[in-house]
């Protein structure tokens, strides 16, 4: 690692002030950023740790949605949403491993926007909102491609708002070495609409499979997708799977998620 100064502010205002330093970068749970630093792929002058900021942590219920602080760990989300939003709890409880879940945060994951991250699929399927220190951004506008988001300089994810569906399920086909999804599909059923968010598959990052959403909107059964397949155009091809294989998995995982959510 290149050397840097690490600061641990206790409030959001102090963190934002510290981030104004040249080449300053926020640090949340560090489960992606620290390995990146070890590989010398990043060279911040100052790392502003957000983990000491109490106001960024915690889960509250507000008007049909969950408001989750950006500094809330995957482990806490898995434990505390088990009753209120089992689909999200299950998703969070399968990220990485128990020790990683005790450090990694939802805000850090969303700011990084790894094309194989799990939360973006849930955010897209539910029509969630990313909350920053400046504004609120709808999931559809927030995710802008691999590792690319609508976040601007000095803007940090302070929380998210995720509408709680009537039923939901996340199916992840794991790449066995990394346990990231080769393809992950989150299906969320609301009164009058269905959302399908797909992660891991596309060169453009997370996306909604709108054709499946439409079909499931009128018939929420796996059979509604029986003759439907996702095109392979624009899907990722690498040593773990071809674009055609990933496209095939999208339909399979979506059907499984619907079956599990029914």
């Amino acid at each position: 690692m290149y050397d840097f100064e690490l600061t641990r502010p206790g409030t959001l205002d102090e963190a934002l002030a510290a981030l104004r330093a040249e080449d300053a970068q926020p640090l949340s749970g560090g489960q992606t950023l620290i390995p990146t630093l070890k590989q010398r792929l990043a060279m911040p002058s100052v790392l502003v740790s957000l983990t000491g900021i109490e106001e960024l942590r915690g889960i509250t219920r507000e008007d049909g949605a969950l408001r989750i602080g950006g500094g809330t760990t995957h482990g806490q989300i898995a434990r505390e949403t088990a009753d209120s939003f089992p689909g999200l709890s299950h998703l969070a409880g399968k990220i990485g491993d128990p020790a990683v879940r005790n450090r990694g945060t939802i805000g850090g994951s969303l700011a990084n926007n790894d094309p194989s991250a799990c939360y973006p699929a849930a955010m897209m399927a539910t029509g969630g909102t990313v909350i920053t220190n400046n504004r609120e951004i709808a999931a559809d506008d927030y995710f802008q491609g691999m590792f690319t988001t609508a976040l601007e300089e000095d803007e940090i994810v302070t929380g998210v708002r995720i509408p709680v569906p009537q039923s939901s399920n996340y199916q992840k086909f794991e790449q066995p070495a990394s346990r990231f999804p080769l393809v992950g599909v989150f299906v969320a059923r609301f009164d009058g609409r269905v959302g399908v968010g797909v992660t891991g598959a596309s060169e453009g990052g997370v996306f909604r499979w709108r054709e499946a959403e439409e079909a499931l909107g009128s018939d929420f059964t796996p059979e509604a997708l029986k003759d439907m397949s996702h095109p392979a155009d624009g899907m990722i091809s690498d040593l773990h799977g071809t674009a055609e294989y990933r496209a095939h998995l999208i339909a399979v995982m979506t059907r499984r998620a619907v079956a599990a959510a029914t």
Binding site: D3, E5, L6, S49, D97, P98, V100, R103
Partner: protein, 161 residues
């Protein structure tokens, strides 16, 4: 450099560290607690697992400065007061839950946390919980047996995977 203080195995320690000093480096190189191992240094293998404020974390993927003021427990803090092996450690010995022993500190720290959260885990629950602890010797077979035994459960024939 900044002065960092933390309570490790019940005793307060202070030492200077750089911003980039990892918790595992602080424990091993500043406090000379070398029971916590560095295996992969990429947060995959879990040999560096310790407890910070009661939660298991990978000490290779956390900065020492972030544990400033925290309560940390390492493998050195696991034995009974009289120095004898605790129930989990003894079970690993009794059931040959190790061969080279390199992963064992992390295995014991993770297994201890598992039984705190889930006192009677099934074989599958143990395997799931240990996803982040890699052993290259045992095939996990005897590790699972040791944890089942430490939880006071009968050990059915555990199939090797």
């Amino acid at each position: 450099m900044a002065m960092i203080s933390m309570t490790v195995n019940g005793k307060t320690h202070s030492a200077e560290a750089e911003g980039r000093t990892l918790l595992v480096e602080f424990l091993r190189e500043k406090l000379h607690l070398t029971g916590t191992h560095v295996g992969c240094d990429t947060s995959q293998c879990g040999a560096c697992t310790v407890h910070v404020n009661g939660q298991n974390v990978k000490a290779c993927t956390m900065f020492a400065a972030e544990a400033d003021g925290a309560e940390v427990t390492t493998i050195e803090g696991m034995a009974n007061g009289d120095g004898s092996l605790n129930v989990m450690q003894q079970a690993f010995q009794d059931h040959h839950g190790l061969q080279c022993g390199f992963c064992t500190p992390g295995m014991v720290m993770s297994a201890t946390k598992l039984l705190e959260e889930n006192p009677k885990p099934s074989e599958q629950e143990i395997r799931d919980y240990l996803q982040g602890n890699i052993c290259r010797c045992t095939g996990y077979h005897n590790i699972i047996k040791a944890i089942l035994a430490a939880s006071g459960q009968d050990m059915p024939a555990v199939a090797a995977e």
